[in-house]
Amino acid sequence: MERNVSRIHIVSEPSIIYFLQVSWEKDLGSGFDIILTDGQSAWSGTVTTSEISREADDMAMERDKYVDELKKALVLGTEPANVYKFDFSKENCNFSYSRNLKNVSFILGSLILQKVSSPAEVIRELMSYCLNCMADQLAKNEHLQRENEMLQRDWNDVQKRLEKCVTDKENLEADLHKRFVLVLNEKKAKIRSLHKSLIQAKKSEKEKQDER
């Protein structure tokens, strides 16, 4: 089961923070449960899959697009504060959520909530859920941190090995050339020596020929 808890403001009571828990199985579009609390009282309600279809039809909106709007309004909380509005009446327990578009509000959905008889239990459960999430996130954070440090060390290690390989390659090239030059110069010295001997032999023959 998926769950999300967020802070919302009620239009009719802007100074009070309310907490909205939305929970659903697999997909929000299949229906969801709502819990609303002001830290003292709590109200709950359900929106069924057929109610979602009906609302989408009423708004002449594609169902998938309507469910996306619901996600943005009730779960994601990534939009700026004035894009979605919430209203709740403690008298008739009517809870509604609207979308603001160019200063015009479009009601996305509404339902009558039931007042919870033991709000303390609901509030305790909400807080427990939050603390569990915090603990999970902290554990994940520590794991990611360790992974990060390990990746950093690995990167440093492979970077050093690359630098060494580049240096080794340069050194190898220089070293091989030096060795080659030594061996080559031996051959050149031999060529010079043979060349000198050949010239000498030819000169000696010519001298003897001239003598004769």
């Binding site: 060795r179 080659f180 061996v183 031996e186």
Partner: protein, 39 residues
Amino acid sequence: CPSTKEHFACEYDCYGDSYFADTDVVQLKEVFSRIKNVK
């Protein structure tokens, strides 16, 4: 002995590479490996 030394000096350079016989990669690597203190 001196004659053998003289013979090798005619046939091979001071690194053991033949003056006359063609070399190949394997033999050249061997010659290079014998060179110490490359400057």
